[in-house]
């Protein structure tokens, strides 16, 4: 059914055919080639190193480097194709052939641009820093060399706090008449000055400057290369340099857009190089001598005859495929496939793990439960519709790989579930019946019947009277049904692996006991004889007491273990309680939606003008419902999933299988048409 039987095979052949065979097997992608220790020991040939790894890293770097420069149209296209390049295999090969000679140029140009850009940006930073330093001294009119290299005087450029301006000027004036002070500039908080003193009083002047917190511009060091220029000229040449670098940066930016045209070629190159590496890595698993090669692999049984025939036809006896038995204690990998519909729920099982060799694939059984649980958790017609429409849009207009399509289909189903769930509990964007348009309301409600459900098709009102309790009972009943299904599946599983005693003593006995308890609880409601169920429950309990202690060797301990085994009933009770989350989450969607509507109304009413109020209310509604949609969606998904993983799987499913990973051309960037 769902788990595909696998066959272990051994392929042996003449060395000359190795390359072609591997090429084709890689394309088929149905073999998981395994490591056989004795082959490796006996392999005489030295493994060849693959030097493309370095190239691969460079290609991936370039892809990341250029990706932001892709045209808007290409970005849109990749949104609709899941980021893959859709191309036919022949075209890809052709482009690869044309691009390969150029690839080295493109790669090294991108690396060079990266390096230069970093350098230019640093340079730009430095220039801007210098400009900011020098700008306040723009009015200083002497070339630096003339001002600072004089025999008889010393000159300082720098700044003093503006609050000290008066006292400072005063102090300089009284110091000596051999000091000349010029205030070049003033801005918020600082005055910029030039001060020249005769050589003999220079040390004293320096002290004076220091005592006023003079902040000196070390102009001779910072602007060494402009020594013969005036500050204004220096600024001008700095600006010129800045403009040059900026022009260069703009040019490289444009060049990056041009180079981005090679992105598709680079993607093809990346995938092909990855495949080459994969093929090269294989040699560590394969026996290769001068004349022959051999390896072992797992493959789906259904394809083995086809492959055998193909090998026989192509290699006319020089390559042979034989089916072999798996060794003892060898765990074969597990390949799971489901029919259309159920396959959309496969990712949920995968989230938990691959089924083990003794497990049954739970996907078809969790499908209806997940659908219902998710629907009741999100339970809003509007949100469900939005989710379905988004998924349908991408399914219809996009071109995706099969695995991406599976995820989109799951979302589509989830949306439909939420739509139906919304109808059942009357969730329409959290609207109350008074707010809702009248075409949604039921005829009974409109005609004013007291007990009528407000919305068309609504079965329970979770906010009124006994509605919440009814919802809770529905949620827990679904839980009981799922748990009983789980126990029954355990019975089937044990029969399949030949544990007949276990199958009857554990799952079946429990199933009977639990079912009788449910019958006992419901007997009054449906009018069945309560006494009968009571007796049957007791009988079930007795059976359990008798069977649960069967593993004990000691005859005295057997009945004690049996009675203790009955204690497991608490596990079932807590499992059932756990399903109450369906009700809580279902209510949460509606109430938060209601709160968003309410807040939007209040906010809109607070605005001074009705039109402004309307705009604010609509904006808040969009924001609030997007938030509620996202949070409820996340909650509904993870909690519906959790109920499968912990409550449902806990009864019969172990997981922990090793997933079948075929030797296949993994396409990270490409998606081959007609393949």
């Amino acid at each position: 059914m769902a788990k595909i039987p696998l066959q272990k095979i051994r392929i042996t052949g003449m060395r000359g055919h190795y390359k072609i065979l591997m090429q084709e097997l890689h394309r088929w992608g149905i073999l998981e080639i395994i490591q056989t220790p004795e082959f490796i020991e006996r392999s005489k040939e030295q493994a060849e190193e693959y030097f493309g790894v370095f190239d691969l890293a460079r290609i991936n770097f370039t892809l990341r480097f250029l990706a932001p420069y892709e045209t808007a149209k290409a970005k849109m296209d990749s949104l609709l194709s899941g980021g893959k390049l859709i191309i036919s295999e022949e075209d890809a090969k052709l482009r690869l052939k044309n691009f390969s000679p150029k690839s080295e140029d493109v790669l090294s140009e991108c690396e060079q641009i990266e390096e230069e850009t970093v350098r230019d940006k640093n340079q730009l930073e430095k220039i801007r820093h210098k400009k900011a330093l020098l700008a306040p001294f723009r009015l200083f009119h002497t070339p630096l060399q003339k001002a600072f290299h004089t025999p008889k005087t010393q000159t300082w450029l720098g700044s003093v706090r503006a609050s000290k301006k008066e006292v400072f000027v005063e102090a300089v004036a009284t110091e000596s008449n051999l000091v000349d002070l010029e205030i070049l500039n003033e801005d918020e908080g600082k005055i910029y000055i030039r001060l020249t003193a005769a050589e003999e009083i220079a040390p004293r002047t320096a002290e004076l400057l220091q005592s006023y917190g003079f902040d000196e511009l070390d102009i001779t060091n910072e602007f060494l290369e402009f020594y013969d220029q005036k500050p204004r000229e220096i600024l001008r040449s700095l600006e010129r340099e800045e403009a040059e670098i900026q022009a260069k940066l703009e040019k490289t930016e444009k060049r990056k857009y041009e180079l981005a045209a090679y992105l598709d070629d680079l993607r093809i190159l990346a995938d092909y190089n990855t495949w080459r590496k994969k093929k090269n890595d294989l040699q560590y698993k394969i026996l290769k001598t001068k004349n022959i090669f051999a390896f072992e692999a797992w493959m789906p049984l259904r394809d083995s005859d086809r492959l055998e025939k193909w090998i026989r036809d192509i290699f006319v006896g020089e390559v042979a495929l034989e089916k072999i038995e798996s060794e003892e204690n060898e765990e074969p990998p597990v390949l799971v496939e489901n029919k259309k519909g159920a396959d959309s729920y496969q990712p949920i099982t995968e989230m938990f793990g691959t089924p083990g060799n003794k497990d049954i694939d739970p996907t078809p059984y969790l499908m209806p439960f997940f659908f219902i649980f998710f629907g009741l958790c999100l339970s809003d017609v509007g949100y469900g519709l939005i989710l379905s429409l988004i998924a349908a849009f991408f399914l219809f207009f996009g071109q995706f790989t099969p695995s991406a399509k599976v995820g989109l289909k799951l979302l589509l189903f989830c949306g439909i579930g939420a739509f139906l769930g919304g109808i059942i509990v009357g969730g329409y964007f959290g609207m109350t019946p008074e707010q809702a348009p009248s075409f949604l309301l039921s005829a009974d409600y409109k005609s004013g019947i007291e007990e009528a459900m407000p919305f068309k098709g609504q079965l329970l009102d979770p906010m009124k009277g006994s509605g919440p309790i009814l919802f809770l009972i529905v949620a827990m009943s679904l839980g009981v049904i799922q748990l009983l299904t789980g126990v029954l599946l355990d019975f089937v599983r044990r029969l399949k692996i030949g544990d007949y005693v276990g199958a009857f003593c554990d799952p079946l006995a429990w199933f009977f006991f639990l079912l009788m308890l449910v019958g006992f609880a419901l007997a009054d409601q449906v009018g069945l004889p309560k006494e009968t169920f009571k007796n049957l429950s007791i009988a079930g309990a007795i059976v359990l007491v008798m069977t649960q202690g069967r593993h004990q060797k000691n005859w005295f301990l057997k009945p004690i273990s049996g009675v203790l085994g009955l204690y497991n009933i608490t596990g079932y009770v807590s499992d059932i309680l756990s399903y109450s989350r369906i009700m809580a989450l279902g209510l949460a969607t509606g109430v938060i939606g209601f709160a968003m509507n309410l807040t939007a109304g209040i906010l809109g009413g607070m605005m001074p003008h009705p039109i402004l109020g309307f705009i604010v209310a609509v904006a808040f509604l969009l924001f609030g419902h997007s938030l509620n949609f996202a949070l409820s969606l996340l909650g509904a998904f993870v909690h519906s999933g959790r109920l499968q993983f912990i409550e449902f799987f806990g009864k019969f499913f172990e997981g922990g299988g090793r997933k079948f990973r075929p030797f296949v051309r993994e396409k990270k960037y490409l998606f081959f048409r007609n393949s």
């Binding site: 109450s580 989450l585 709160a595 949070l631 993870v638 959790r642």
Partner: protein
């Protein structure tokens, strides 16, 4: 003032929103800082990390939910009803129940989420399992929400 049913109800609603909000805040903070660290190494994982980081955020929503229901119950959004001291106390305890369960579970869920993010940083494929582990702890906030809901809903003014 603790005689007034209205005041008690509003305190209860506030406690539900504030405590559960604090729990979620701390939880998302714990997970978010860890997530930012992992993102600096592996920016491609943003989608997965965002989902795990958002998980401890739900307690705050549950608290808000109880607060709004409680306030709607006493008619704060249109014509205050007569609220007796007993009803006020019921709503008060419902709020405490939601607040405390949300605070504890949101806080601790953040740590589980942060550990999960660390695991995802090392191996992307465990994202699903990390989400499930983190969700287990949320159960107890949901139970708190459930009981609070039942209390608030069953109150007859």
């Amino acid at each position: 003032m603790f005689e007034s049913g209205i005041v008690l109800s509003i305190i209860g609603a506030t406690i539900a929103a504030v405590l559960a909000g604090i729990g979620s805040g701390i939880g998302v903070y714990t997970a978010g800082t860890k997530g930012a660290g992992v993102l600096s190494e592996k920016p491609d994982l943003f989608g997965k990390i965002l989902v795990i980081t958002a998980l401890p955020g739900s307690q705050g929503v549950y608290g808000l939910l109880i607060a709004i229901l409680a306030l709607a119950k006493i008619g704060l959004f249109g014509g205050l009803a007569e609220v007796s001291t007993e009803v006020g106390q019921q709503i008060f305890w419902a709020g405490i129940l939601m607040g405390v369960s949300g605070l504890a579970s949101g806080w601790l869920q953040g740590r589980v989420a942060a550990a999960g993010i660390g695991a995802v940083g090392r191996d992307e494929s465990v994202a699903g399992k990390a989400i499930v582990l983190s969700v287990i702890i949320e159960t107890y906030a949901i139970f708190g929400l459930l009981v609070s809901l039942l209390i608030v809903n069953s109150i007859q003014l």
